[in-house]
């Protein structure tokens, strides 16, 4: 947006569709793929902004779970922003007929894996605990107090133990649970065969189960 004194000039392709919240008006029933096709075809930033609105929480959550509490030196919002930028820059590589959601998550996961590799290489891990996940469970009024505490402890354990999983297993597990992706969608996001996705999921759960049981 350009500002001249009190006059604001909005670039036409924004002004046409933008609502005050920065999303596309009347896009509720439009599929992700249709919006992304508009982004690709017309370079429509408003359509892309609508996709960002739909997915920003989930992508940030995905990044935060991938990097977990051991890498809190990294701001998950920055990585999520890079993932969206990557998606925009690589929009011409999006295959017609493909699903947008696993494609976007695949980009985000690859960003995280790259970041984990760099951090592992530089050994700059800052071990600061993140209580966000357990806080929300404590706040839940559905459970009895004792059960809530146990559950909170289990989630906190998961948050800690998942850092011991290799990045590829962690990626499959996070994708499975962060937005309930199917085997096929995970396979598409990670560019893996479905059989490998199943094996990775099994190994990730088995490893977590073993570690959690060892602690008790």
């Amino acid at each position: 947006m350009l500002e001249f004194g009190s006059i604001s000039l909005v670039w036409p392709r924004f002004a046409r569709h933008m609502s005050p919240q920065g999303s596309l008006s009347g896009a509720a029933g439009v599929t992700d793929e249709a919006l992304f096709e508009r982004t690709c075809r017309d370079d429509d930033h408003a359509a892309f902004s609508e996709l960002v609105t739909r997915y920003r929480v989930r992508v940030i959550a995905l990044v935060r779970r991938m990097l977990t509490s051991s890498q809190t030196a990294i701001d998950p919002e920055d990585i999520a922003q890079e993932a969206f930028l990557d998606a925009y820059r690589r929009r011409q590589t999006f295959r017609r007929g493909a699903q947008f959601r696993p494609w976007l998550y695949g980009i985000a996961v690859n960003r995280c894996v790259d970041k984990i590799r760099v951090m592992d290489r530089e050994s700059t891990l800052t071990l600061l605990p993140s209580d966000e996940a357990s806080e929300s469970v404590i706040a839940s009024a559905e459970m009895a107090p004792l059960e809530t505490v146990i559950r909170s402890q289990e989630i906190s354990d998961i948050d800690r133990e998942i850092t011991h999983l290799p990045a590829k297993l962690r990626a499959v597990l996070v994708l499975r649970y962060v937005d309930d992706l199917s085997y096929e969608e995970i396979a598409s996001a990670c560019a893996l065969p479905i059989g490998t996705v199943k094996t990775h999921l099994f190994r990730a759960r088995a490893e977590l189960k073993r570690r959690l049981e060892d602690e008790r």
Binding site: W11, F14, Q21, G22, S23, R41, D43, H45, F48, S49, V52, T53, R56, V57, R58, I60, A61, R64, R65, E77, A80, Q81, F84, L85, Y88, R89, Q92, E132, A133, S136, V137, R151, E154, I155, D157, I158, D159, I162, L173, V174, R176, Y177, V178, D179, Y183, K198, L201, F202, R205, L208, K209, L212, E213
Partner: protein, 197 residues
């Protein structure tokens, strides 16, 4: 752990992911009812899966709000627009012109080379290359021998190409250029239609 237990482990994973059908579910339940180890494993996997699901679930408190979009859009605005793809760059006018030029060149090349054979043969009959080279350049004997050899080689090569296949390959190259440019033209027209749609 026997074969039934190994199978049960696989079925437990399918159960956790909601991918188990009714008959397999019954088989799993029957096995778990008689196998305490698998029952414990199933209970353990259920707890892990439930906790992992709760741990991974995105929370409203993680939403950075519209400011996230604003920052992102500013970054996008700052980026240079991407160059159009190769196909999109081919306008239908340019493709049509390319076809026309290729057709003219192919025809002209074919006609010229069809006559070239006769022209070349008449030159070769009138001129003795040995005398011509010696009188023109006054070059030393060693160089003279090399020049004569080169002349003979060139003469043989051009004669064979011209008489056997030269008109054909030039015409074929022209035809190939027409086909390639026709593909460009079709692509350019379909791009134009898609954009107008």
């Amino acid at each position: 752990m026997n074969g039934e237990c190994v199978r049960a482990q696989t079925l437990i994973q399918l159960l956790l992911d909601g991918r188990i059908d009714a008959s397999r579910r019954q088989a799993l339940d029957r096995h778990v009812a008689t196998c305490p180890a698998c029952a414990a494993a199933m209970d353990g996997y259920h707890r892990v899966s439930s906790s992992a699901s709760e741990w991974a679930r995105p929370r409203a408190s993680e939403d950075p709000g519209a400011g996230f979009n604003d920052r992102l859009l500013k970054m996008l605005e700052a980026e240079a627009p991407p160059s159009p793809q190769f196909w999109a760059r081919r306008s239908w006018r340019r493709s049509g012109l390319s076809i026309l030029i290729a057709a003219v060149m192919a025809a002209a090349g074919g006609i010229w080379l069809a006559n070239y054979t006769n022209v070349w043969q008449s030159i070769s009959a009138d001129v003795d290359p040995s005398d011509w080279m010696r009188s023109l350049a006054q070059i030393p004997d060693a160089m003279h021998e090399i020049a004569i050899s080169a002349w003979s080689a060139l003469d043989g090569l051009l004669s064979s190409v011209a008489t056997v296949s030269a008109p054909n390959w030039v015409t074929e190259a022209g035809a190939a250029a027409i086909v390639v440019n026709a593909i460009f033209l079709i692509q350019a027209i379909s791009n134009r239609r898609r954009q107008s749609a």
